[in-house]
């Protein structure tokens, strides 16, 4: 068979496609990777909330609601992505998540509730405390259940 430019391009395209699909498949099966992605979104959504708190941006109830809702959704998603044995590797999940499952679940529930309360904030006076509670719930869980950086 003569290798034409077209067959070469086809072969190259196929291998890239296959590799991509394989990579995506791996990511989909890997809860540590998925929860990491969810947490990255949480962190991104926290930024506009922080900007309001340090007065880099004006208080805007719509912005608060949108970002707090995203945080809540992503926390719920992440909470379901801690099956037993999904620690190790690049994951910073501590073994305590599974040895103290009730404590971990409670910490997650507190964070999800705090995000819900944040989404309901419509006046600036309540904003500071709602953010403290939400950020405090992140800290509480990270202090107990997240390893230091590798």
């Amino acid at each position: 068979m003569r290798l034409t430019k077209r067959t070469l391009a086809f072969a190259a395209g196929m291998s890239i496609g296959l590799a991509g699909a394989w990579g995506a498949g791996l990511a989909a099966e890997n809860p540590a990777h998925q929860r990491h992605e969810a947490m990255e979104t949480v962190q991104e959504s926290f930024k506009p909330l922080r900007a309001i708190a340090v007065k880099e941006a004006p208080f805007d109830a719509a912005v608060v609601k949108k970002n707090a809702t995203t945080i809540q959704d992503k926390l719920k998603e992440a909470h379901g992505l801690f099956p037993e044995g999904s620690d190790g590797g690049d994951s910073r999940a501590k073994k305590e998540i599974w040895t103290d499952r009730a404590g971990f679940d409670q910490a997650m529930k507190d964070a999800i509730a705090a995000a819900g309360a944040m989404a309901a904030v419509t006046d600036e006076a309540a904003y500071g405390n709602a953010l403290k509670t939400l950020g405090g719930s992140c800290k509480n869980c990270h202090d107990k259940y997240r390893l230091p950086k590798q």
Binding site: Q43, L49, V54, R92, K132, G135, C138, K139, H142, P148
Partner: protein
């Protein structure tokens, strides 16, 4: 095998005896006498500042769910490669706390790592840093602790192999470790806030205990001062505190001060985990000027 001659046996016995005597002498406690403690009218409020600056409560906080959990009556087991240590009760209970300690006892614990009965403390209790504290500050801290309600809470015995012998070993280790001069805060000269920060970070704050890597002798390696390294808990790393602004970790000293005061409550995501969350909770209770002083000093480390 032929038995050694009587003469060889005697020589071996002599060497052993000399070695044992040398070990016992070199590892002996060397406490400050009570007469060396200056007269001082204690300032409890300053003592409370030092209590937070030293994050005493990070280690001496009783485990979750314990009664009177807001008092420094013990602590969670402190796991190290040498063994497991149980932080002591710092409340003024006479039997299980510091109730019977004299001023000299407290100063000896803080600056020489000695118990009132002359045993060596393991350096998991960071006296290597505290020995750079000013004695009046130490006495103020003692006055603050003495003002807390007493809680009866005996600390379990440390789980270290050959505990008694290991303690004497600490005595030998101290001879090497103390030979390295303590942080010379008096010669620090970068201005009021910076100098205050240098003191808080290096003496009560004992930041270097985790952020400065240790050499093979478990002594802080000063050429890698605050450069970060393996986490003492065994998993993960402790970040470097050098070049915090240059490496874009924080915008400036004001940003770092906000991070220390608020941590993740303001979305500073790198200030929890590995024990730093508990430290940050303690530092958040310092007066604002002291937090800023710590930040001013830290951002100056290049």
């Amino acid at each position: 095998m032929r038995l050694p001659s009587r003469r060889t046996a005697a020589a071996i016995a002599c060497v052993l005896v000399v070695a044992a005597v040398a070990f016992l002498r070199l590892s002996q406690a060397d406490p400050l006498p009570a007469s060396a403690i200056p007269a001082h009218a204690a300032d409890r409020a300053n003592g409370e500042v030092l209590f937070h600056a030293g994050s005493c409560f990070a280690c001496h906080k009783p485990p979750d769910g314990a009664a009177r959990a807001s008092l420094p009556s013990g602590g969670s087991p402190f796991k190290t490669p040498i063994g497991v240590f149980y932080p002591q009760n710092l409340t003024p209970d006479a039997e299980t706390g510091l109730g019977r300690w004299s001023e000299a006892d407290f100063v000896n614990a803080m600056t020489r790592g000695l118990s009132p009965d002359g045993r060596h403390y393991f350096p998991a209790f960071p006296y290597m840093a505290y020995r750079a504290m000013k004695v009046p500050d130490i006495l103020d801290l003692r006055a603050y602790l003495a003002s807390l309600p007493a809680v009866t809470a005996p600390a379990p015995r440390h789980r270290v192999p050959l505990l008694g012998l290991a303690r004497r070993g600490v005595g030998l280790w101290k001879r090497l470790a103390f030979a390295q001069a303590p942080f010379a805060f008096a010669s620090a000269s970068g201005g009021g806030s910076w100098t205050r920060g240098a003191y808080l970070v290096n003496a009560p704050g004992h930041c270097g205990e985790c952020h400065t890597p240790k050499n093979l002798l478990m002594i802080e390696s000063l050429d890698r001062y605050m450069a970060g390294g393996p986490h003492p808990g065994g998993e993960g790393k402790v970040p470097s505190l050098r070049g915090l602004v240059e490496r874009k970790k924080y915008k400036d000293a004001a940003d770092l001060a906000l991070a220390l005061q608020n941590g993740e409550e303001l979305g500073y995501k790198d200030i929890s985990s590995g024990g730093m969350g508990a430290i940050q909770s303690n530092l958040a209770q310092l007066p604002e000027a002291d937090v800023r002083a710590i930040a001013d000093y830290l951002v100056s480390l290049k």
